[in-house]
């Protein structure tokens, strides 16, 4: 997998965010047979589209929800403007309109110069099923999680390796992660035992106290959640736009301490960084920067 955008809420370019990156949520997953997935279509998907080879023209995009920081890059995804591309977009269902119509609220005037029907690629829209489904050699599972509006987390399993992606999630809303049973904790079933868990860790505890109910996690809850579900590795994701590289370095240091207190090894925890690549394998994942 490769992280093309790890920022939450709004793109945050600038000299203070060059290391962790300013693009919003997008993670490329390449399955063993070359099948391509994009987890969310924040502004990071623009770079992903530019980096894809000519032959890579069938792409499944799994949207967790339709907030702007998760779809804004769709209009700038190069394969969407290539008539040889086939793009399948998955996302949460909602009672008011189809996934296609809800995305068209963005890809339409006055927000966009083109309409969905004008996209040159072959594009289709699917509400994520409530049962598992297959894409290439992987099994995909989606589940609703606590966030503002219809929101999914995804679990992609191939062989005995699994990636669980829950970038926007507030599992402690109305629940005590240290006390309540599993039945009352959002996301537990989806994330249990994942090889890699990518999870919202946007806020400090002080910030969270002013933002309860906004749909995001304080770092301490992300750590507790990851330990609780016994994820093999945690990648803290959806960095707050106000958090600079220097701040995130310090924040990461505090996370390692807390993680250690919870019984985790420092090598099992990292903060998502743009362009970071990870091999998701049952063995301890290996990382390389590009």
């Amino acid at each position: 997998m490769k992280i093309w955008g790890a920022r939450g809420s709004v793109p945050s370019p600038g000299p203070e965010t060059v290391r962790y990156g300013g693009n919003t949520s997008c993670v490329q997953v390449t399955l063993s047979d070359g099948t391509l997935l994009a987890l969310d279509a924040g502004t990071g998907i623009r770079s992903m589209g530019l980096a894809l080879a000519e032959k890579e023209r069938r792409i499944n995009i799994l949207l967790t929800h339709l907030h702007m920081d998760h779809i804004q890059g769709l209009m700038f995804f190069a394969p969407a403007f290539d008539p040889t591309s086939e793009i399948v977009i998955w996302g949460p269902e909602a009672p008011d309109a189809s996934l296609r119509d809800r995305i068209a609220r963005y890809i339409s005037a006055p927000l966009s110069p083109v309409e969905v029907r004008e996209l040159p690629c072959h594009v289709s829209f699917n509400e994520a099923p409530h049962t598992e489904w297959e894409i290439g050699p992987a099994t995909i599972r989606a589940a609703s999680v606590t966030h503002r509006g219809p929101t999914l987390g995804y679990r992609i399993t191939e062989g005995d390796a699994s990636l669980c992606y829950i970038p926007d999630h507030e599992p402690s809303l109305g629940a005590d992660l240290a006390v309540d049973g599993d039945e009352w904790i959002s996301g537990v079933e989806l994330a249990r035992g994942a090889t890699v868990l990518m999870h919202d860790g946007q806020y400090t505890s002080d910030e969270y106290s002013q933002r309860v109910g906004w749909g995001h996690s304080r770092l301490s809850d992300a750590l507790l959640f990851a330990r609780r579900v016994e994820a093999q590795r945690l990648v803290v994701f959806h960095h707050d736009p106000l958090h600079s590289d220097d701040f995130l370095d310090v924040f990461h240091g505090s996370a390692v301490e807390r993680w250690s207190d919870l019984g985790g090894a420092a090598t099992e925890l990292e903060f998502a960084t743009e362009r970071r690549e990870l091999l998701v394998d049952r063995a301890p994942p290996s990382g390389r920067s590009s």
Binding site: T146, G174, W184, I185, S186, G187
Partner: protein
């Protein structure tokens, strides 16, 4: 959703009810009481944590509900049953009995918890009424 975790809609409903001073309880899609709040425990005479989840027969035996003549109200006529089975809100005046045997007349309103695909459960709000 496989065994273990509740649907997120029930998780959020429980969170809401736990913060309210309106007596209320939460049932899952099978009509099993999976939570009631502290305000409800005042009328029921017991805290949820003391008795845990209960099926319809259990809470029917424990708390009634009864009609004005003191007879048990058939399950299918209860607001929560209507909310679960028909998917719309329902309201009724009932009598309930606390675990100490104290009867109270209440108004009860049940609201189904619906998502696009199905009914996940219901919330039932109730309050004691002046019997005069």
């Amino acid at each position: 959703m496989s065994a273990g975790q509740r649907p997120v809609e029930l998780i959020l409903a429980r969170s809401l009810l736990a913060t309210l001073s309106t007596p209320s309880f939460l049932v899952d899609e099978e009509g099993i009481v999976v939570f009631f709040n502290d305000a409800a425990s005042v009328l029921l005479g017991v805290r949820y944590e003391e008795i845990g989840r209960m099926g319809p027969e259990q809470w029917g035996t424990a708390f009634g509900p009864l009609d004005r003549s003191g007879q048990p109200v058939p399950l299918e006529e209860l607001p929560l049953t209507i909310a679960l089975r028909r998917g719309h809100p329902s309201h009724a005046r009932l009598r309930i009995r606390s675990v100490q045997g104290v009867e109270s007349e209440i108004e009860a309103a049940a609201v189904p918890i619906l998502t696009v695909q199905r009914t996940h459960g219901a919330m039932v709000f109730f309050w004691q009424v002046d019997e005069r």
